[in-house]
Symmetry: C2
Subunit: 111 residues, 2 copies
């Protein structure tokens, strides 16, 4: 069975959606966007309530995909923060409109 892609762009959109949907990706982006400034691992985790395993995996994927920036601050003791990249900030409105849509419509997603 040959996997024939009708539109190669679909594949990339799918990859984005696949990443965004992996549990808590959206949470992370929305929280970082709302906060407006870099946050620490523990702060993110405390607001999302998922396993550190998953949070760490998501942050790693988001970072490697260029959506999140990881910074190590040379303080004592050192502090690690995560913030949105420029690209991610451009994507935010799309997520926000989707957010607004679901809020307004009061639709009931049934899976």
């Amino acid at each position: 069975m040959i996997e024939q892609d009708c539109d190669p762009v679909f594949a990339r959109v799918d990859k984005l959606l696949a990443l965004l949907n992996k549990s808590k990706s959206l949470h992370i982006l929305l929280i970082l966007n709302l906060k407006g400034q870099p946050m620490r691992f523990s702060t993110i985790k405390s607001q999302i309530n998922s396993s550190s395993t998953t949070i760490a995996r998501r942050l790693g994927e988001l970072e490697r995909s260029g959506l999140v920036e990881r910074k190590i601050h040379p303080t004592a003791p050192s502090v690690v923060t995560y913030g949105l990249t420029e690209d991610a900030r451009h994507l935010a409105p799309s997520i926000q409109s989707m957010y607004d849509w679901i809020v307004k419509r009061d639709i009931n997603i049934v899976i």
Copy 2:
């Protein structure tokens, strides 16, 4: 294990994203949106190239979630078509901007 949601709206957005991401949901919505008119099961399937199991599951979920309308035409033989609901058409722009973003940025999603 109590799942404590920090923001109940997040949960609904997550459900939407979870639905949209289940393989081929986005394809279905984009194809129906581009087509601009209801399509038959076999036509959708032919353009997506996934198992009928998955296509059927997605269409069922999208229908129950109020994003897709299923119609049985009383012709002979009878024909079944799927089209976007009003709600889905309002959501389309959000998906489209996400689509545009990924196209423009040429970003490389790494999962």
